[in-house]
């Protein structure tokens, strides 16, 4: 890295220092002083943003990992192979930060191994927990070549990559299944809150709704990461890929919107669409950010041709996704439980610190490992395998 002339103190480093100072102080509050000092959680709102934001969004926004791996490995869309590692490392870091976050979230975190020993197969959370443990392992295996290929021992390297290449497809397949299950069952957690969850968000199909929303949100996350990497991490990708990813968003978001509408009608939520209540506002905010604004924007030629506009549109999708998860896990339960919850600064500080760790890890991975190409390929691979493979042969 040619940064000999950079000053030691830059605005970004100051911000980083503040984030880590606040996060570490909040960590001290959580583990040494207590829950009440570190959080605004209460009997009425026992989950707060550590579940609503850190877990539900951390896992959901990592959904690009399995979607891209499936597209490249299973469907042979060689065109996206250059961004496959990006998608996988985003997912790995996302799940990693969720796992670390559980050290804070659990009341008795040193018992984290209990679900492996004590089983309750009737629990949705049990299913989610097991899927996340296994899928994080799968992601580590999928990602491992990026690390192994940097090892100095040639024979070990070749031996590992040879075997990895032969068996990776099994892990990709397992990963797609595991992801589909737990992305859905994160929504399934709230099926049991019938009567507590506000009708605009309650559905016995929360599983499908969470699945259908996680995929576009995960892809939007990849667009964001790719744009930022090209802008500041000295990598080159075909800008057409951003355009194509965003083009996929439109039908995915539309499918979600249609399913959401039909489901509201089916579950009897339609009557609540225009009531003069705070929930109504949060609902329309979520729908505007996640569905209406992105679909309109992505249909404009000007937006589709500008990487920076695609970046901001994806950011709106991600914000809409976050709004949806927080609505389901917090807003929708407030009326029944009279919680009146707003997160304490220290809850946010810990979540922001963990996200910053993930972003930093991503940055250094892109800088020091071969995650993204540093120069453009001479020939553009086409949608399906044929052309790419022939060109390589």
């Amino acid at each position: 890295m040619p940064d000999d002339k950079k000053p030691l103190i830059t605005p970004w480093r100051v911000i980083l220092a503040i984030i880590f100072a606040a996060g570490l102080y909040a960590t001290y509050l959580r583990f040494a002083v207590g829950w009440s000092a570190a959080t605004n959680m209460s009997d009425a709102q026992p989950w707060g943003i550590w579940v609503g934001l850190a877990t539900l969004c951390g896992v959901g926004l990592s959904a690009g990992g399995f979607a891209t791996a499936a597209a490249v490995y299973l469907l042979g869309m060689e065109r996206y192979r250059p961004i496959c590692r990006t998608a996988i490392i985003i997912a790995f870091l996302g799940y990693g930060s969720v796992c670390v976050g559980y050290a804070y979230e659990l009341g008795l975190p040193w018992r984290f191994w209990h679900p492996v020993v004590y089983w309750n197969r009737h629990s949705v959370l049990f299913e989610v927990c097991w899927c996340i443990i296994m899928y994080t392992t799968v992601l580590a295996i999928e990602f491992s070549p990026a690390l192994v290929e940097k090892l100095p021992w040639k024979s070990l390297r070749e031996w590992y990559l040879h075997w990895h290449h032969r068996i990776v497809i099994a892990f990709v397949l397992a990963g797609v299944l595991l992801s589909s299950l737990h992305q859905s069952f994160l929504g399934g957690l709230f099926i049991i809150t019938k009567g507590k969850e506000y009708p605009l968000w309650y559905s016995t199909h929360l599983t499908t709704l969470f699945y259908l929303s996680a995929i576009p949100a995960g892809l939007a996350m990849i667009v964001i990461a790719l744009y930022l990497s090209v802008r500041s991490l000295n990598v080159k990708i075909d800008p057409e890929i951003l355009r194509e990813l965003s083009a996929v968003l439109v039908p995915l978001l539309a499918i979600f919107a249609i399913f959401r509408g039909v489901d509201l009608a089916h579950e009897g939520g339609l009557g609540y669409l225009f009531r003069w209540r705070s929930e109504t506002g949060y609902f329309w905010l979520e729908m505007a950010l996640f569905v209406f604004i992105p679909i309109v924007l992505l249909n404009l030629e000007r937006i589709r041709n500008s990487p920076v506009a695609l970046y901001w549109t994806s950011a709106i999708v991600v914000m809409g996704f976050i709004a949806n998860r927080i609505n389901v896990s917090i807003t929708g339960l407030e009326r029944a439980t009279h919680a009146g919850y707003t997160p304490k600064w220290s809850e946010l500080a810990i979540t922001v610190m963990l996200m910053t760790c993930a972003v930093l890890a991503f940055r250094y991975a892109v800088l020091y490992l071969d995650i993204l190409p540093r120069s453009l390929a001479e020939k553009r691979a086409k949608w399906l395998a044929n052309a790419g493979v022939v060109a390589n042969a």
């Binding site: 004590y118 309750n120 299913e127």
Partner: protein, 254 residues
């Protein structure tokens, strides 16, 4: 077996609001402090006033408890004696039980660094030994009665039949798929702050329907993906073979 299964019958018309049950409960569970207005980590039962009536609040001990189905390590369990009991040695503190309970009964020790879930355990240790719950034993008017579940249901039915001033409904007989705590009253339950049961069927059944789809997703999804992979590989092979053929033909021509 049936007589082993115990329950509580609470006759709201008989409660005088003396809070004896709360005091006895605190003594039996070694909980500090005076009677409290709401359920908390130190109050497993409380007597609240609604519409001029004294209403006891406590865990309903559902026949198919949402909390127990939610608990991923099985720390909460419906015992064959009736109480929904909590095994604190298994709990990891995820607090999903608190989200799942339709009455938001489980409470958490937010002030502690090693916090556990706290709720009425229907004096499971006493019940197992054949004793009544502390609250029922302390009740001076018989408003809270302890007994066999079937026997108490018969008794409740008998009171409703003999006295038409009662609302003709036993709260807890069907609510949440049936519970082990029954209320009878002369004022409609919805005026007394009772949760209107969200569904006829027990809540865990909603979840089971979703979980039941797992094997299908794995089997169908797995075969579908494997099939797609096979097609992808086949197309790759064909493309390579065609390219090779083309190349060799070119060579021949030259």
């Amino acid at each position: 077996m049936a007589e082993n299964k115990k329950a509580l019958l609470i006759d709201i018309t008989k409660c005088i609001g003396c809070h004896s049950c709360e005091v006895a409960c605190k003594a039996a569970h070694e909980l500090p402090g005076d009677p409290e207005p709401n359920l908390s980590e130190t109050a497993f039962t409380t007597v609240q006033e609604h519409a001029g009536k004294n209403i006891r609040r406590l865990c309903m001990h559902c026949e198919e408890p949402a909390c127990a189905s939610a608990c991923l390590v099985g720390a909460l369990k419906k015992t064959s004696y009736g109480p929904v009991a909590y095994d604190k040695t298994k709990c990891i503190g995820c607090r999903y039980c608190m989200i799942a309970c339709p009455n938001s009964v489980p409470k958490y020790e937010w002030s502690k660094l090693v916090p556990y879930v706290k709720k009425c355990d229907m004096c499971v240790n006493r019940v197992v030994q054949g004793q009544p719950t502390a609250c029922a034993e302390a009740c001076p008017t018989g408003a809270t009665m302890f007994g066999g579940r079937d026997q108490l249901l018969r008794e409740a039915r008998r009171r409703l039949d003999n006295d038409s001033s009662y609302v003709q409904h036993i709260y807890g007989e069907r609510e949440f798929g049936g519970t082990s705590v029954f209320f009878i009253s002369d004022v409609p339950f919805e005026n007394l702050g009772f949760t209107v049961a969200p569904a006829e069927e027990p809540l865990p059944q909603l979840t089971q329907a979703a979980l039941g789809e797992v094997p299908t997703v794995v089997l169908v999804g797995g075969s579908l993906l494997a099939g797609l992979y096979w097609i992808t590989q086949r197309r790759r092979e064909v493309a390579l073979a065609e390219a090779a053929e083309k190349a060799s033909r070119k060579e021949e021509r030259n």
